[in-house]
Symmetry: C2
DNA sequence: GTCTGTGCAAACCCTTTGCACGATG
DNA sequence: CATCGTGCAAAGGGTTTGCACAGAC
């Protein structure tokens, strides 16, 4: 990530390092607020605006995937920066990355049917995760 | 739609009829602003708030599908109110409904892999529509 | 030393809400 | 005639931006 930032002419500041470390460590998909809170532990004066700007820089160099949710805070994935499907628990907000799901055949079918040149996708599945299912005694 | 509203105890007002007619007629996926502008032609005094409230009522009775986009206005589909995949042109904003796409097998695979109980999905593909591809002489 | 990054606060924009008035069943 | 819907204006909330100061290269 550091290399990617420098290569694009971005400077590497302590604040950016803090954000970067948090993204690299979090296996989940933290929100901007989560990143900010975590970054404050290493760098108490860091502002939310700086976190957003750093996330934007990392997105610009393809090192982080931004997941936007209307009405809910965005979530960020620094472990798998390419677009990929997600499975989201509506009870606890947990986001899981499925492994065995290849969209390429689907994209090919759609391109043929619609005539679109397809460049990307956003694929989310909503449900209840195993832990929350148990908690609701179902 | 009228029946569904009445059955749920909603009143049928001229404003709601105007919104309703626009949704039934638009094959595309208009935004709230589009609906408002169109509704003003039949009912010049109608407010944007009323449009939003009517859309919410129709959503509540399952007669319209709301597509939320972070940063962009929501889009509404009164023709196919159930969730379904979309193909979106990033150049002109057009939204197309593909026909030959069944997500059921995918959902089954995901449920097995993740242990989630999957209740819904949001599947969008982004690209360039045939018209915009021609316009960009590609 | 120059130019970029930071932090603060205000702006943004679509959407939602509070409220007094008007219309519906 | 009780209740719900309308229209206006203001609030709401995550994100973005303008600006002056500070720090990286």
């Amino acid at each position: 990530m550091i290399r990617a930032l420098r290569a694009a002419g971005f400077r590497v500041t302590p604040q950016r390092l803090a954000v970067l470390r948090i993204l690299a460590k979090s296996a989940g998909h933290p929100g901007a607020g989560d990143v900010h809170r975590a970054a404050r532990r290493a760098f108490p004066a860091i502002s939310l605006a700086t976190v957003y700007k750093t996330l934007a820089a990392l997105k610009a160099v393809g090192q982080v995937l931004e997941l936007e949710f209307s009405g809910l805070p965005n979530r960020y994935d620094g472990c798998r920066p390419g677009p990929h499907p997600h499975v989201i628990c509506q009870a606890c907000g947990r986001i899981v990355d499925p492994r065995n799901l290849d969209l390429a055949p689907t994209v090919a079918v759609l391109a043929g049917e619609t005539g679109f040149a397809i460049h990307g996708s956003r694929v989310d599945f909503f449900g209840t995760c195993p832990a929350c299912r148990r908690r609701a005694h179902c």
